[in-house]
């Protein structure tokens, strides 16, 4: 007979919650960048509205976790798992805020066209989303090796951010009238860069969950 059925079930429910929240966040990032590509104001508004659902989900998971700690006295790996989850959901929720930030930049454009066709920004988004999905996968599989590897990939996002920054600088130097729109795109890139940083935080939590060690890995240059 297995023991601790209630604790096991509670942990599984929390894991399911994390996967669901991560999927909501992943979609929010995707939709915000899609909205930016097309300057689709309606879609951007939707991303902003749906952020409320993400916040709600995060609080729901947090309450479940608190209940599990209060009622089931988790110890050792079970306790680490719950603490990791409590941290991960904060990072996920903040990532969604960055997606919301991108959506708000779509709204700022109003009638103005994009300064330039988007090249590196969608790449940054794809890379960050790929890292996000794999970090959650590593969390579910308790794979510390994968977590180290994913965190190292943050350098690629940083490099893309550098590229975007330098490119936008050239626009601004050539024609100061582009400064507002160039700055907006720079903010978008910054939001994506921050999203990838938060994936690194998730990776740190996976490593803590698996090994019990708290360490800062791959400090971003930004």
């Amino acid at each position: 007979m297995t023991t601790r059925v209630a604790l096991e079930e509670g942990l599984r429910a929390l894991e399911d919650g994390v996967v669901e929240l991560a999927s909501m966040v992943d979609k929010a990032i995707e939709r915000s960048v899609e909205a930016l590509k097309r300057l689709d104001q309606e879609e951007a508004k939707k991303v902003i509205r749906d952020d409320l659902l993400i916040n709600k989900k995060r609080f729901e998971i947090e309450e479940q976790a608190i209940e599990l700690i209060a009622t089931q006295q988790p110890m050792a790996r079970d306790l680490r798992r719950i603490i990791a989850i409590l941290n991960i959901i904060v990072d996920l929720e903040r990532m969604a805020d960055h997606a919301e930030g991108i959506a708000k930049i779509v709204l700022m454009h109003q009638d103005k066209p994009l300064l330039k066709p988007l090249i590196d920004i969608p790449r940054m988004a794809d890379k960050a989303r790929d890292m996000l999905r794999r970090s959650i996968d590593a969390f579910i599989r308790r794979d510390a090796e994968a977590a180290y590897k994913i965190a190292a990939e943050d350098d690629e996002v940083d490099a893309l951010y550098d590229q975007v920054y330098r490119e936008l600088l050239t626009y601004m130097l050539q024609d100061p009238r582009t400064i507002d729109r160039a700055t907006w795109l720079l903010w978008v890139a910054h939001n994506l860069e921050r999203i990838a940083d938060r994936v690194t935080n998730i990776c740190e939590r996976v490593i803590y969950d698996v090994t019990g060690r708290m360490e800062e890995i791959n400090v971003s240059k930004y």
């Binding site: 023991t3 209940e67 009622t71 089931q72 006295q73």
Partner: protein, 269 residues
């Protein structure tokens, strides 16, 4: 009067229990005062509180065991599926069959085998015999999550089992007479942690059919196993009262009464 004699009516599963204005005395000393409590059907309700707060007295009133102590008496009502178990003409023996009890120390009948320990209740009550009785014993042992461990030794003395097994044997014995409510008075106080967790998992499996009340000293156990928790405390006059009752989740994360908070955070007294 005919109504009262008709007790018990057909069993309602899972059963509900309502304690109304219940007070109990041992001779001149009052043990509990004016307890009001709704025990939800098909749920586990835990009663917690420090020693001497009257929690055991409370559950012993729910199956009329309190009154077997000389000089003990009870006031108030205990409704089982709407019928007052203290109503006129109600046979306390029948009440105890419908509301089973498991005690702190495993107490299998010392001269009886594993099989006999479980069979004795239904046999004495004329509930089953022969092959039917055997089936009932097996079913009860399975329900108590003990079958796999004893199926090859049904004829050994019940007391030869381990402590945790003996306690599950006592639960099987209680289940064999098909009660509607199961009262457990510190059922794991004498058991090791693994046996304790086994009993807790067992209770979770049983609760769909049996309404369960568990008295426990161990509030972590109450937190782990129960759906609702009642916190009792003896006041300055040493009489136990119900301080707070609510969903376990709420009681352990955000209790309403400062005395509950003080107790569950270990800052009592």
């Amino acid at each position: 009067m005919a109504e009262a004699v008709a007790f018990p009516k057909a069993a309602v599963r899972p059963a509900w229990v309502r304690v109304e204005g219940l007070s109990a005395w041992y001779g001149r000393r009052q043990a509990i005062r004016n307890i009001n409590l709704e025990v939800a059907p098909g749920k586990i309700t835990a009663v917690i509180g420090p020693s001497g707060c009257g929690k055991s007295t409370l559950v012993r009133c729910i199956n009329r065991l309190h009154e077997v102590v000389p000089g003990a008496r009870v006031e108030g009502r205990v409704l089982l599926n709407g019928e007052d178990i203290y109503g006129p003409g109600v046979d306390p023996v029948l009440v105890r069959r419908r509301v089973g009890m498991v005690f702190q120390r495993p107490n299998p009948f010392p001269t009886m085998s594993v099989f006999e320990n479980v069979a004795i209740g239904p046999r004495l009550n004329g509930l089953a015999k022969g092959a039917e009785l055997e089936e009932l014993v097996v079913r009860s042992l399975k329900l108590a999550a003990l079958w796999d461990e004893v199926k090859d030794k049904l004829n050994v003395p019940g007391t030869s089992l381990s402590g945790g097994q003996q306690q599950r044997l006592c639960i099987a014995r209680a289940l064999a007479v098909n009660p509607e409510v199961l009262l457990l008075d510190e059922p794991t106080a004498a058991l090791d942690p693994i046996s304790t967790l086994k009993i807790e998992d067992l209770l979770r499996q049983l609760k769909a059919e049996y309404t369960i009340v568990i008295v426990t000293h161990n509030m972590q156990q109450a937190a782990r196993v129960s759906d609702f928790t009642a916190f009792m405390l003896a006041g300055e006059d040493q009489v136990g009262e119900l301080v707070e009752f609510g969903p376990t989740r709420q009681l352990f994360t955000n209790p309403k009464d400062p005395r509950t908070e003080a107790y569950i955070t270990g800052r009592f007294g």
